[in-house]
């Protein structure tokens, strides 16, 4: 089936079998490998992307369901010379070790901060409950999101 959608602001098209998930579409048709194939059943959140302003597990959507949608992936968030405050704070605090959960973790956090610029620690934890990290534990991840939120609100100067 033919699919046309917007990915990171650019219109893209592909022809794929109906059983293709959004995750496979991104990785295999568009070479956007930031979203990871982790559990592939909606538990781990490594495949998290933002579809029309909400975070979803891209492994749990069929390509046919995102026809005409706007999808944001980690590749569209920033570039190497100009990090998003979340990326910068994750790096500064050493919030990631292997990095596998990073793209999903950062996109979940981005959507949280877009919807709620001043989240409590509990709200950050709730927003990240669908993103599993098996390296660092979550303390530094939650701290980095809180720091990024403060920076984005202008409460503290960017480091």
């Amino acid at each position: 089936m033919d699919i046309t959608l917007t990915i990171n602001g650019e219109e893209k098209s592909a022809s794929v079998p109906p059983e293709t998930t959004l995750l496979r579409l991104l990785r295999e048709e568009f070479n956007l490998t930031g979203a990871k194939v982790g559990c592939d059943v909606g538990d781990c959140g490594a495949c998290t992307v933002i579809v029309d302003g909400i975070t979803t597990n891209s492994c749990l959507m069929l390509a046919g369901q995102v026809e005409g949608c706007s999808v944001e992936t980690i590749e569209g968030l920033a570039n190497i010379d100009d990090y998003h405050p979340l990326q910068k704070n994750f790096e500064d605090l050493g919030s990631l070790q292997c990095g596998f959960c990073g793209p999903g973790m950062i996109l979940s956090a981005k959507q949280l901060l877009d919807d709620n610029p001043d989240p409590s620690k509990e709200e950050i934890q709730d927003a990240l409950a669908g993103n599993l990290c098996r390296c660092t534990g979550y303390t530094k991840i939650v701290e980095a999101v809180a720091d990024a939120a403060r920076e984005m609100r202008g409460d503290i100067e960017a480091a």
């Binding site: 909606g42 538990d43 597990n57 069929l62 709730d126």
Partner: protein, 288 residues
């Protein structure tokens, strides 16, 4: 996944026609948080998959003549953020918040949760405690039934392969009825309920009226506890009668013994959570 044909109808009527045309080798896809996982594991193609997640007719939350209508394809996140749910059935917000995590709540639908019909579904108890009804639509027309009749067994509902669940209606007389929901899972996020309970009630002149107690995860489907309910009906509100109702509720469930929890532990949870929901609902009822 095994290859299948994918149909994305433009409206509800198109969905019904597609179901009728391909039945019985057809399945409905809504949020996909359960069904796509199943599809990845089955060895046989379902034939045709009909996507209904985008259908306008299945989407709204609105006041209708006989109550509050919630479309079957409304997501758990939409329930959590809707002013009419907050106004009339805030216990549904508590229940929706315990489901999965943000990403799964953004995709998963109320109808999907009911149709999938796993015993631990978190949407069930609150709706059963509020005497919710569902509308099922097929080529031959619509039928309306109490939610308790919709559930048949684990992963089995009354829905035929050519029928679609279109909405859930909470009867008008129960909008604003004091209702409390508690779920006990092993974690806050991404956990199945070991036991979930909802109780609804009115307090009239200090006495219980129209008490409903509904349990999930402790029987083949979400159940009511008629004996515990009638033990409270017309009684003066007191700690003693609430404690007794908790003990009676335990006798009305048949929890399984499995790797998540023993039967004994689940029975203790039924007792505690039943009392807790009753106490919370009484507290709500006593607020001006």
């Amino acid at each position: 996944m095994k290859p299948f044909d994918f149909v994305r109808p433009e409206d509800q009527e198109g969905a019904i026609s597609a179901l009728a045309a391909h039945s019985p080798n057809v399945r409905i896809l809504a949020g996909g948080t359960d069904y796509l996982v199943e599809l990845k594991h089955v060895s046989q193609s379902p034939g045709t998959v009909v996507d209904v997640s985008h259908l306008e007719e299945l989407k709204g939350i609105e006041e209708v003549e006989n109550g509050l209508r919630i479309g079957a394809a409304v997501t758990h996140t939409e329930i959590m953020n809707h002013p009419l749910i907050e106004k009339y059935v805030p216990a549904m917000i508590d229940a929706a918040h315990t489901i999965g995590a943000v990403q799964t709540r953004n995709l998963g639908t109320l109808g999907g949760n009911l149709v999938t019909c796993v015993p631990s579904m978190d949407s069930g108890p609150t709706l059963v405690a509020l005497d919710a009804e569902v509308t099922v639509l097929g080529k031959k027309g619509a039928r309306r039934m109490p939610l308790t009749e919709f559930f048949v067994g684990p992963r089995k509902t009354i829905l035929q392969s050519d029928e679609l669940l279109v909405d859930v209606v909470i009867p008008k007389q129960n909008l604003g009825k004091p209702t409390a929901f508690y779920k006990f899972g092993l974690r806050k996020g991404q956990a199945l309920a070991l036991v979930n309970v909802a109780s609804s009630l009115w307090v009239k002149d200090g006495k219980f009226a129209d008490v409903r107690i509904s349990l999930g995860a402790v029987a083949p489907v979400v159940i009511r506890c008629p004996n515990a309910e009638s033990s409270l009906e017309g009684q003066e509100v007191s700690k003693n009668v609430i404690e007794e109702a908790g003990s009676i509720a335990v006798t009305e469930a048949k929890p399984i013994d499995d790797f998540r929890a023993s039967r004994e532990y689940r029975n203790d949870l039924i007792d505690v959570l039943t009392r807790r929901t009753l106490n919370s609902a009484v507290e709500m009822a006593n607020q001006p």
